[in-house]
Amino acid sequence: MKAERNEKVLLQGLARSDKKAIELIYRENYNMVQSLIINNSGSTDDAKDIFQEAMIVLYEKVRSGTFELNCLIKTYVYSVSRRLWLKRLQQMNRYVPAMENLHETVPVDDDVEENERIGSEFQAMEKAISSLGEPCKSLLEAYYLEKKSMQEIASFFGYTNAENAKNQKYKCLVRLKKIFFAQYKNGNGNG
């Protein structure tokens, strides 16, 4: 009973990006995933990659608000990691060994697919922003990501007033949105 409640608290913490919750989940599950990867022809770097990807899948899932915990975090992370690693091996055209199930698994294919879609969207966004160049990149990041006020941005970037900064921001935004929506219409960022 108590364990179940703890799991719930952990997941709520994860949804808030609480550092302690993240650390705890990391600590309690990393070694398990690492042995899975290493025992199936992967390296420690692969293990880190796969485990962190699995953490992102879990994170996106708890944040979506529809996540019902019907298995242990451990089971979920293991299942996702296993699926991700199988996919990775297939992509590399490597012989896929019959992976032994050392732990219980749950079906996670849909979650992994969804995560892949989100991931490629974000990568497209990252690419779009960096393709803007400076000062657009820093300007838009300061306003839309770091949520700085136009006043702050004006003094920070050395604009004579907030109005000038706003004009420049607008020009940059039009460029970014153009790239962003072009990718969006082309089936979410294949570019």
Binding site: S17, K19, I22, E23, Y26, R27, Y30, N31, Q34, T44, A47, K48, Q52, M55, I56, Y59, E60, R63, I118, E121, F122, M125, E126, E134, P135, S138, L139, Y144, L145, S155, F156, F157, G158, Y159, T160, N164, K166, N167, Q168, Y170, L173, K177, F180, F181
Partner: protein, 370 residues
């Protein structure tokens, strides 16, 4: 036309963020119903902003995972092997910290003994192992110096602060030499009759200008005050080469009466008009930060934060640290400062930010002029 577009976007953003008054909102919603273009813009921009927010959270989460991995590996709470570079040094440092502290007390004797031995018996052989030993002894000596400077600093704490004077210019400066030579922005000090520097404990010391370079907005000042006790060494070093784009950087400074930390990244390797002695940075800083040091993750000074205004809008620049080497070379031509030498070995590499900042903050001062 463009002005209108900007205004419309502004209004749409305020609407999405819920910043409108009820009346405004009602009016705007009416407008949305009758004007399909506005309606489409709202839908499109909402989607865009949502995506931006999620993107930011995703990026932050990835960063947290990365940091967590390093933390847990260092604490040996996960079995990830193959620590490399900074992570390994930090890990080893934690492991051997205690041993080094004990060894420091007997290091003086050993150091002399070992040097003689090496000189007598192996003058020509460059045995890497022997060199490594010498390195280690040097490291221990350094450690002792750090301890000494800590003692100095405890002494200083007991002194009474100087009575403060009315102040007109404020900025930040940092030591480039343990005996009180300091670098800051020229505009902070150039029109001042009296210059005071103040450390993070509130102690003030009188200082005078040694060299001014108004075109680069860099000044070298020297603390000239009986109550100032020299340090034995500086914890940070000065990087001679230009740093890489996207390198994370941080600064310490005095935008207010207390030392404040800010971080950012290197945006471009050159400054305004391709100036190779400066660089473009993005950093959380305020006017009082100007003249402050810019550090990379190894705790090396890579530049001086400059608030200098240029014709180009939208950039923040820093003067690169290699410029400090140049100025100092010029300064050395006069006899007074011939022995000043910039350290090129940082004792901060591999430490985490919190530890680095703790070690650095005693060497960063508020600079005041009247």
């Amino acid at each position: 036309m463009a002005m209108d577009d900007i205004k419309i976007l502004d209004t749409v953003e305020r609407y999405i963020r819920g910043e409108m008054t009820p009346d405004e909102r009602l009016y705007f919603e009416q407008l949305r119903k009758t004007n399909p273009e506005i309606d489409q813009l709202v839908v499109e921009h909402t989607l865009f902003l949502q995506q931006m927010n999620r993107f930011e959270e995703w990026k932050k989460f990835k960063q947290t995972l990365h940091e967590t991995h390093i933390d847990l590996t260092q604490q040996r709470k996960i079995q990830s092997d193959r620590l490399r570079g900074g992570a390994k040094i930090a890990y080893l440092w934690n492991k051997y910290k205690r041993v080094t502290a004990i060894a420091a007390s007997i290091a003086g004797v050993t150091a002399i003994g070992l040097t003689i031995l090496i000189n007598l018996f192996t003058p020509q052989i460059k045995d890497p192992k022997v060199q490594e030993l010498v390195h280690r002894v040097n490291a221990v000596e350094k450690n002792q110096k750090v301890l000494d400077s800590k003692i100095n600093y405890v002494d200083k704490k007991n002194q009474q602060p100087v009575i403060s004077t009315p102040v007109r210019y404020n900025g930040t400066g940092f030591l480039i030499d343990p005996k009180g030579l300091m670098i800051t922005n020229a505009h902070v000090v150039k029109n001042s009759r009296n210059i005071f520097v103040q450390n993070n404990k509130g102690d003030q010391f009188k200082a005078f200008v040694v060299k001014l370079d108004v075109s680069r907005d860099v000044a070298i000042i020297k603390i000239d005050d009986d109550s100032f006790k020299s340090f034995t060494s500086l914890p940070y070093s000065f990087k001679k080469a230009t740093s890489d784009i996207a390198e994370p950087i941080f600064t310490l400074g005095y935008p207010r009466d207390e030392v404040v930390y800010g971080e950012g990244y290197l945006s471009a390797k050159t400054g305004y008009n391709g100036d190779t002695l400066s660089c473009q940075i993005f950093i959380a800083a305020n006017p009082g930060n100007s003249g402050g040091p810019i550090f990379n993750h190894n705790g090396e000074v890579i530049g001086i934060l400059s608030a200098k205004e240029t014709e180009a809008e939208g950039f923040v620049f820093a003067v690169q640290s290699k410029y400090i080497y140049q100025v100092l070379d010029e300064l050395k031509k006069s006899s007074l400062y011939q022995n000043v030498k910039l350290s090129n070995r940082s004792s901060l590499s591999g430490l985490d930010k919190v530890q680095q900042v703790k070690k650095i903050q005693d060497f960063v001062f508020m600079v005041k002029g009247d």
